[in-house]
Amino acid sequence: MTMLADMPAVMLLAAAPAVPLLMIATAIVPRARERLIAYLPFAPVPAIVAAITVPHGTSVVLPQALLGLTLEIDKPGAILLGSAALLWMAGGIHARSSIREQVGRFAAWWLITLAGSLGVFLAADMIGFYFFYTLVSLAAYGLVVHDDTPDARRASSLYVALALLGEALLFMAFVLLAAAAPGGSVLISDAVAALSASPWREPALLLIILGFGLKIALVPLHVWMPLTYVAAPTPAAAVLSGAAVNAGVVGLIRFLPFDTAMPAWGEALAVIGLLSALYGVIVGVTQANPKAVLAYSSISQMGFIAAVLGMGLATGNTAVPLVVAFYAAHHTLAKGGLFLSLGLLDARSPRYVWLVLLPAAVLALGLAGLPLTGGQLAKMAAKGPLGDGAIGTLAHLSAAGSTLLMLFFLLRLNTTVPQNMAKPTINPPAAAWLVVAFAALVMPWILFPTIVGASWRHALTHKELWSASWPVIAGGVMAAVLWPRRAILRNIPQGDLLILAERCGPAARRVAVAFERTDDALRQWSVASMCIVLLVLLTALALAAS
């Protein structure tokens, strides 16, 4: 934790979350607020520069007036930061031309979410992490609710309720970590190092996995994701699905103790992850709305990530954070690119639809690990930690499921395109989207050697190509079989289990009514005044019981 003399690097680090926050400050002036949206693409610029140029290991301790936050950049952080910032930039360009109503408010929420989303990758202390995590979690509410439709309201209510639940779980987890950390240190590294000896280890791990599991939508904590991504405006859905979700990934990277093998916790996490991966595919193919298909794909992909993390935790593999960051970065660009392509399709005339669909297809199948795409490398990198056991094999198989799901996405997309032709009013530039798509394709090839320590040529061997191809082929076959019979796939409502959970609504209401009745009774004069007398007696007795 040395404060480097390298001032520009330090400044850049601080600027990554600070610039968007400062931009919000201008929103106090109403006129500036209305114009803010035009400048959204510039907000993540310092983060991109920082991710590329700032040497890993650079850290800065902000003054107490800024919470005394510690910011530090490391390799996984830099990869996640760079990819997320790029997506935010493309999203900002898209939003600038596609958001027409309440632009001031949208820009404000956007910037807060952006600041949080980038900040979590840099925060090195728990308070700072929690601060940024809260920003990205709670401010996303404003993006989800933006359209103010009944669906958006329902989705945002559910989202904020679960986000708050996640916040609460993590708050408690961090408190347990801090209570065990030496000398009241709030640095994440200190706290995680002390975790294995902490008397609160088990509850802390449980809370961490639950809290971040909510964010990455592990089944059965996934119910908010489809609703939210469908309800949010397209650019918002893009950044939420691509960038904001990585707050959960980075949380697990930072807070799980990978230097100690914890087989029980690790395997449990891996199993849940695989379950999510499978579940996302199964429910995803039943969805008619392409946005919902993408959301279920996110559930599936995040499940895969959880499986990698789980296996890393089970074996005490300290290389896992980097691998996961690499995988998640690819997912960021690919998923974000896919969402943005939805927005572009809305605006294109039928003749040029293929111009969008083709790159989209590459991105989609990239998520399944199609050879020669970035996705192939991402899957390859993940293979190491997953190992060759049952879990590794199953994880590998999940690529077939991804292919199936992505093909369904493309087909759904194709069938829904004509319906969306009626509104040529918005015309987001395609260039930004192409940059993201290109980055999704190319970035893994550049980073790959630094992740696994092997040349990218390794990926072009026959063995690897075949290994990457057969799941795609299998998925293609499944799609070919299933698509014509898609009518038999009943459309499961978005949020699936949520429908079951909503059955519990009346029960919750009954509890609330019981509380109300209690309160009514206690607020009777006679009851309350008798309570005084009773409490005097009780207190006296309690004092005597010493």
């Binding site: 006679s526 008798m530 007398v533 009773l534 007696l537």
Partner: protein, 311 residues
């Protein structure tokens, strides 16, 4: 013999107290309360607290009684009573209260001698205050801060009462004499009693420095005289925005405050008196306070202004 008298008095106090709680009619309960207050005054004498006995008789019974009686009379028509509690709840309440009483009684029985006391210390320092009545010394020297704050409490209660005035009647007069036209007999008595009362009040305030009595008791007697003449219609109630009235209300506490701050310069600090002038200062403060207390208590009992003054 003395114990028998005490026991009789106590039985009477408790019995009357219980009667007051259970009796149905509000007016009757109020009258019982007045009687109770007078008996309490006797109890205070039995406890060798003549100062308190005077206060209890004047304030606790007298002016509180007047206030409550007037209120009870005005509420006669209104349906102010809620529903009575069900029998089981009443029993529970009774049991709980009995348990409180029992624990307090246990404390009373458990207290041992020698009891801690500040009496010697109060007497030792009495010379420095120039006073002869240790109770007055506590009120105006040792614990003068309490007394000063309590004056503010009184004023504030008055502001609170006034705040309940309807907006249109602000700056108006309290309606003491609206219920029934004053009778001649009352007016007659209300003319002969006040001169005596005023003399008595002045005496009481003056003698308070060395004997039982003082500003509170004197002020209360004055207040009662004032209330009497207002209620009898001999004198009209003043408008609450009357400048003189407001000065009267503030005079005592203000003088007290000024004397208190003067102490910073001429004595040991806030609310300290130089021994040579202690008695003079205290008596001056008491005199001013008596007037302010009289005005405050009288207006408190008179209630908020309810109508504009008839010209």
């Amino acid at each position: 013999m003395a114990a028998a008298f005490d026991i009789g008095l106590i039985v009477l106090l408790v019995g009357i107290g219980a009667w007051m709680i259970v009796v149905r009619d509000v007016v009757v309960a109020t009258i019982i309360f007045v009687v109770f207050g007078l008996l309490m005054a006797i109890a205070w004498v039995r406890l060798s607290a003549v100062d308190v006995a005077l206060t209890e008789a004047a304030i606790g019974s007298g002016i509180t009684g007047t206030l409550l009686l007037g209120a009870a009379a005005r509420l006669k028509g209104a349906d102010a009573g809620g529903t009575r509690l069900s029998f089981p709840i009443t029993v529970v309440a009774a049991v709980l209260c009995a348990m409180i009483s029992a624990s307090l009684a246990a404390v009373a029985l458990l207290l041992t001698y020698p009891a801690p006391t500040l009496a010697p210390m109060a007497m030792q320092n009495l010379d420095q205050t120039g006073l002869g009545n240790p109770v007055a010394a506590v009120l105006f020297a040792y614990r003068a801060l309490d007394t000063l704050l309590e004056k503010v409490v009184l004023l504030l209660a008055l502001v609170g009462v006034w705040s309940l005035a309807p907006d249109r009647a602000w700056r108006g007069v309290p309606s003491l004499d609206t219920t029934v036209p004053p009778s001649d007999i009352l007016a007659f008595f209300a003319q002969i009693l006040p001169p005596f009362g005023i003399v008595f009040a002045i005496y009481m305030t003056w003698t308070g420095a060395s004997n039982p009595g003082g500003a509170f008791q004197g002020g209360t007697v004055l207040a009662v005289m004032w209330l009497l003449v207002m209620m009898a219609g001999v004198m009209r109630a003043p408008s609450i925005s009357n400048v003189w009235l407001r000065w009267l209300l503030v005079a005592g506490p203000a003088l007290f405050l000024i004397v208190g701050f003067t102490g910073v310069f001429i004595a040991d600090g806030f609310l300290a008196y130089p021994p040579a002038y202690a008695k003079a200062l205290i008596v001056a403060v008491e005199a001013a306070l008596a007037v302010s207390i009289a005005a405050t208590l009288g207006l408190l009992a008179a209630g908020p202004p309810e109508r504009m003054q008839q010209k």
